[in-house]
């Protein structure tokens, strides 16, 4: 994990500032996310973690009175360029929201929705099987497809949220509080899934749990009050934080 070779940046934030009305949610954040790594964004609630993640798939603009200055780039392309289609972008930069928000309907309906939205009509069952296998929901076999999504236990619901995003084969996966409100067993399952995911895509995780960030990520960024406190290789940041607020947060003496 510590062997960080040189890697091209897949996502870049340049002096990124996001406001909702007069409230500044993200303030002048500059960081680069290398391809094929797991990057954690830690910080207390309200630090701007979710806003940073949502900047990368242009989900902030769905909220009222959102405005962005600075730049967010995906493989060098300015995401706010007029030629960038946010719908197309969200198909390549997948996101799993912090709240479990499954669609009323079957497990299959949930996985098929995103695929159909992309115009994929062929082999929906095969793709659903593959995605559900990756998250460990295929253990009971094909009958899982007909289960009602909202009848699943909380941990399985979260995994289904991951599966329906993974089915779209995103280049980058944005995970907002992937283990929040989960029991330890389900959380561990999600964690090992994130480990496995680094084979296929870049993963950005927002979490208020530093311990999780320490276990899963190559790089860690610490946000506080909308500003970037510190960003670097996870081991360095955890063993020798340079920012006093980062040190305070990691040791539980926050604020």
């Amino acid at each position: 994990m510590s062997m960080l070779g040189p890697a091209a940046s897949v996502l870049i934030a340049e002096s990124l500032t996001v406001r909702f009305g007069r409230r500044i949610a993200l303030s002048d954040v500059t960081l680069a996310i290398p391809e094929g790594r797991v990057v954690s964004v830690i910080g207390p609630p309200g630090a701007g973690k979710t806003t940073l993640l949502r900047s990368f798939n242009r989900m902030n603009e769905l909220l009222p009175r959102a405005s962005t200055t600075g730049a967010a780039r995906f493989r060098g392309i300015d995401l706010h360029d007029a030629r960038v289609d946010p719908v197309d972008l969200r198909r390549r930069i997948g996101m799993v929201l912090a709240e479990t928000s499954l669609f009323p309907g079957s497990v299959f309906d949930n996985v098929a929705f995103g695929l159909r939205a992309q115009g994929v009509e062929e082999d929906l069952h095969g793709r659903a099987e593959e995605a559900l296998t990756r998250v460990g929901l295929w253990t009971v076999g094909a009958e899982i497809l007909d289960a009602h999504a909202l009848d699943l236990p909380a941990g399985d619901q979260r995994r289904l949220c991951m599966a329906r995003t993974l089915a779209l084969e995103p280049v980058v996966l944005l995970l907002d509080e992937p283990t929040g409100h989960l029991d330890p067993v389900s959380a561990a399952a999600i964690e090992s899934l994130i480990h496995a995911l680094r084979e296929d895509c870049t993963v950005v995780v927002a979490t208020c749990d530093p311990a999780l960030a320490g276990r899963i990520s190559d790089l860690t960024a610490h946000l506080d009050g909308g500003g970037l406190m510190e960003y670097g290789p996870t081991r360095e940041l955890f063993t020798n934080p340079r920012n006093s607020r980062t040190e305070a947060y990691l040791t539980g003496r926050a604020r």
Partner: protein
């Protein structure tokens, strides 16, 4: 193990509330039963089954509601065809598409107030706009347009409330999966909001179906002897027919008014059943309180 309440503490306020609720329910049910009983008692004196198809007549024992019944069916059908798409479409636009500008807020305020405008005022507007302005005369079409104007604000208000009550996560999750706004609306928001949207449509259509005032304003209660076969035919409707008969002193006409009222109640029940049959089984798995709870929040 539970400690006893401290001395002098009031017992929890539970039973009296239950009693009040019970009395309220009894009063409501009793009122409905009394109305039904009175109508049935009056309707005993109806001339016979021909009453349903016969045209109105100067003689009570030869009169019927044929044209009025056909007119009400026409009016409800046309009002549904006009008001429901316009109302639901406007609500969708306001909630999902319109930028939150001052114009949008002003539009919303106007529409909210329109839903509270008395029905007779819609009659005045219909008289000026459709009967005279467009030269439609006191026709079925002019009546349907007037009733549509009355129904649209109700459909908008209820559809808007239905869309706004959906969990935000539903919308966001669909967008995050790369769906276009139309795909989000068509495949997630509309199906989830459909039961409440349909309830609003039913409310609007029931209100217009029973409205006499706006129809009385746009034209005299016609004494037509044939059932309308096209929207251009003269206006006839059950509520206005009830009004005309109830003003006559002879006992026979009171029975006719009661019979027409019963027909109107039955027509309303049929409409409710038809809309109920339309409602999609969104919670196909386990309807009932469980399904309601799940769609309301969802765990996590």
């Amino acid at each position: 193990m539970i400690p006893p309440p401290p001395p002098g503490a009031r017992p929890p306020f539970r039973r009296p509330l239950g009693v009040v609720a019970g009395i309220a329910t009894t009063v409501a049910v009793a009122t409905a039963l009394v109305i039904a009983l009175l109508l049935l008692l009056e309707a005993r004196h109806l001339p016979g089954p021909g009453f349903l198809l016969d045209p109105p007549s100067r003689l009570a024992d030869r009169a019927g509601i044929g044209p009025a019944l056909a007119g009400s069916l026409w009016l409800t059908l046309l009002t549904g065809l006009i008001a429901l798409p316009v109302g639901v479409g406007t609500a969708l636009y306001l909630v999902e598409y319109a930028p939150p500008t001052r114009t949008a807020r002003a539009t919303l305020a106007v529409l909210t107030n329109l839903a509270g405008v008395p029905s007779i005022v819609y009659g005045m507007a219909g008289l000026a706009l459709f009967v005279r302005g467009l030269g439609l005369g006191p026709s079925i079409l002019a009546g349907a347009l007037t009733l549509s104007a009355m129904a649209i604000p109700i459909v908008i208000a209820d559809s808007r409330a239905a869309l706004l009550s959906l969990p935000r996560g539903l919308r966001e999750a669909a967008f995050a999966l790369g769906a276009t706004r139309w795909q989000v609306v068509r495949h997630q928001l509309l199906p989830s909001a459909a039961p409440r949207i349909l309830a609003g449509c039913r409310r609007a259509l029931l209100r217009t179906m029973g409205a006499a005032a706006p129809l009385l304003v746009i034209g005299p209660v016609s004494f037509i002897t044939f059932a309308p076969t096209s929207p251009a035919d003269p206006l006839a409707a059950l509520p206005t027919r009830i009004f005309a008969w109830s003003a006559r002193p002879q006992a026979g006409f009171l029975a006719l008014a009661a019979g027409a009222s019963l027909a109107l109640v039955l027509l309303s029940a049929l409409l409710t059943a038809a809309i109920g049959a339309l409602a999609p089984r969104t919670a196909s798995h386990g309807d009932g309180p469980e399904a309601v709870r799940r769609t309301a929040s969802g765990p996590g």
